[in-house]
């Protein structure tokens, strides 16, 4: 913590007080005990706005220790402004080592993506969640949706998928695609593209979800069944891309479309920047890869 110019306002180390962290850890433990169940918790105001990852930040702040190595991504990228900002926050308030390397991170906080590099046992993936309730847009009332979860009344969720197929010939949900966890709770995986849903299934990593504004925490413990909802004759499918990454030639990864000019020129590149850089270091070249080699992914040590 840097010195304050006056002592008019000071903040606790690691921002959250220990009492709050204990309260959040209890919520996390409850979430782990009941996979997919949304645990209400007394979300705190954070020094970043609601909707900007306060849930994820509170979860991370409650579980992080001095030996942890933190990676923060937004849209799969380590260098998007909000990811940079959250990483800087933890560097400042917890003085932890930060990294962009998926494999060496012990905690990965994410918004909208799951890294391409497979996660391993011992890693924790913390999702920032805007609207935790998968039934919210079918039923706006919290009192009613809680009852639907309690009674396992999920027919309405399939009504929505039915309507998609009837109207569009296919399930037209592309992100925040609902899943059923361990055969019991229907859960919103946060607005990750459905491309990432299969990565959640029986992942060796612990997956924690924090929704700050909506005051909910939920969890998927390691090796838990996470099944995307579908119909037998319209099975869940992920997006496929016609071409590999233009920079690293990766296939079967999630790609961002980058506009090159205003004449319709565009290219597709890995949304996971760490993955893309690693591949290029290994010598993979896409058809639009630049000549010069990019600097290696950086490990920033704690100060």
């Amino acid at each position: 913590m840097t010195a304050q110019p006056t002592d008019i306002a000071t903040y606790n180390f690691a921002y959250l007080d220990e009492q709050t962290k204990r309260m959040i850890r209890r919520a996390i433990l409850k979430g782990i005990a009941i996979p997919g169940y949304q645990v209400p918790f007394a979300s705190r105001e954070m020094p970043m706005p609601y909707g900007w990852g306060t849930g994820g930040v509170q979860v991370t702040a409650s579980i992080i220790g001095p030996d942890d190595v933190l990676k923060v991504i937004d849209q799969g990228a380590d260098d998007t402004t909000n990811a940079v900002s959250i990483r800087a926050f933890f560097k400042k308030v917890a003085n932890v080592t930060v990294t962009t390397d998926t494999a060496t991170a012990s905690i990965i906080q994410t918004r909208h993506r799951i890294p391409e590099h497979p996660l391993t046992a011992g890693q924790v993936l913390v999702y920032q969640v805007p609207i935790p309730e998968p039934l919210r847009f079918l039923e706006p009332r919290e009192t009613e949706t809680r009852k639907m979860h309690a009674l396992e009344e999920y027919g309405l969720m399939h009504v929505k998928l039915y309507e998609d197929i009837a109207k569009h010939g296919r399930i037209a949900t592309t992100y925040a695609y609902p899943v059923k966890v361990e055969g019991r709770y229907v859960m919103d995986p946060s607005p990750t593209p459905k491309f990432d849903n299969p990565k959640m299934h029986r992942s060796p990593a612990l997956q924690l979800f924090g929704a700050g504004r909506e005051k909910r925490i939920y969890a998927v413990p390691p090796f838990t069944d996470v099944v995307s909802l579908d119909f037998e004759d319209h099975p869940f499918e992920v997006q496929t891309f016609d071409q590999p990454c233009a920079l690293c030639a990766a296939e079967n990864v999630y790609l961002d479309e980058v506009i090159l000019d205003d004449h319709g020129g565009h290219m597709f590149v890995c949304s996971d920047t760490d993955h893309c850089e690693k591949r290029r270091e290994e010598g993979h070249r896409g058809h639009l890869a630049p000549e010069t080699h990019l600097a290696p992914a950086n490990m920033e040590p704690a100060q």
Binding site: I8, E45, G51, N82, P130, H168, G169, K194
Partner: protein, 370 residues
């Protein structure tokens, strides 16, 4: 050739540098001091204290400067600070009946014990811009009546003597007042919790909802029983001591709306009440809060829930401006991963649509593309 954009950290630092510069503005103009804000923009400070739910004028003033006068941003700064503060305990309920009153008006009685006290009000000022203020001219000392020993009972207490108004009501013996800063909100909620949420709710939002009840969206025939503004004592019970320890005073605005009520299956005909209480001086907020509180008691009093202002989940879920601004503004964060997913879907559905509507043309474009 495309190269992935790097250096987000530098960009952010530079942006914040620019923000600091713009906040300070022209360096030849003296910088604002916090005491100037506390003294001269006192109602803005009060709003930040009230919706930031932290009674500290100096911090509120700091937040206002830091936020460049953006009130919701200032409220947010105060909230994010208060949440880190340790909790020593809960004070006893304040006694607004024992308030050191600076302003007190009632619309239901012409005169009443303790009298009507206009106090420092905008009411009856003619809203003409005053060029004198721009010159910083001296202001004469005000005249104030000498403090009277006469007690100033709350209007609700006066009406209660006839049994014509619902009493203050008692919580069950074992009721522990909730704390919305420590427990997640759950619906339906007890009134103590709801009042806390309303007290820190956005002034504009509550004003609009309160206004809507006056225009017939859940009309409830309100009268201002009383508005009082002044200082009340804060006292804290400390387990080791046999008496409550005085902590000092806070300034609050209290509004009691008195609402006509014909009675229902659940309650006799009598006046009912809507209650508003906020930090500092803010009549508008306290009144709007009281209107909303009354509207939200619809189910309790056996009234039909027909309008937005009566819908607890709707009102309370959307009244917090720190939450609201965060979620509205988060839309400017990158969403391109999701957008990509939608783009892909729309492209495919569009292609299918073209093929269906105009098979020949679709075939042509396909060939041209290949």
């Amino acid at each position: 050739m495309y190269v992935a954009v790097k250096g987000g950290e530098a960009a952010i630092a530079n942006a914040h540098g620019l923000l600091a510069d713009r906040r300070r503005g022209d360096r030849s103009v003296p910088a604002l001091r916090l005491d100037q804000i506390v003294e001269q923009l006192a109602l803005g400070v009060d709003r930040v204290m009230s919706e930031g739910s932290l009674y500290d004028r100096e911090l509120a003033a700091l937040a206002i400067v830091q936020a460049r006068g953006d009130m919701i941003e200032a409220i947010f700064l105060v909230r994010a600070y208060r949440t880190t503060l340790p909790r020593f305990g809960y004070t006893r309920p304040i006694d607004t009946g024992a308030m050191l009153v600076e302003r007190r008006v009632s619309a239901t009685y012409k005169d009443l014990p303790g009298g009507q006290l206009l106090g420092p009000t905008f009411d009856y000022t003619h809203r003409l811009l005053d060029p004198e203020l721009a010159t910083g001219a001296d202001v004469a000392e005000p005249l104030q009546r000498a403090r009277e020993a006469e007690p100033m009972p709350r209007v609700s207490a006066i009406l209660a003597r006839e049994g014509l108004i619902e009493p203050d009501g008692k919580m069950p013996q074992d009721h522990i007042p909730g704390d919305i800063t420590r427990e997640p909100l759950e619906f339906p909620m007890a009134r103590d919790i709801r009042l806390q949420a309303l007290s820190r709710g956005d002034e504009g939002f509550l004003l609009a909802l309160g206004y809507s009840t006056q225009r017939g969206y859940a009309r409830n025939h309100p009268f201002v029983g009383e508005i009082r503004i002044g200082e009340v004592e804060l006292e804290l019970d400390i387990p080791e001591l046999p008496f409550a320890v005085p902590l000092g005073t806070v300034r609050v605005t209290e509004c009691q709306m008195v609402n006509q009520f014909k009675g229902s299956a659940k309650a006799p005909p009598q006046f009912t009440r809507g209650y508003g209480l906020v930090f500092g001086q803010s009549e508008r907020k306290a009144m709007a809060m009281a209107l909303c509180d009354r509207a939200l008691r619809a189910s309790e009093l056996g009234e039909d829930v027909v309008a937005a202002a009566q819908d607890e989940e709707f009102v309370i879920s959307h009244s917090d401006n720190v939450q609201a601004t965060g979620f509205v503004e988060h839309l400017k964060l990158p969403h391109y991963v999701d957008f990509q997913a939608e783009l892909d879907l729309v492209r495919r559905m569009r292609a299918e649509y073209e093929a269906r509507e105009n098979p020949a043309k679709a075939e042509e474009t396909k060939e041209a593309a290949e």
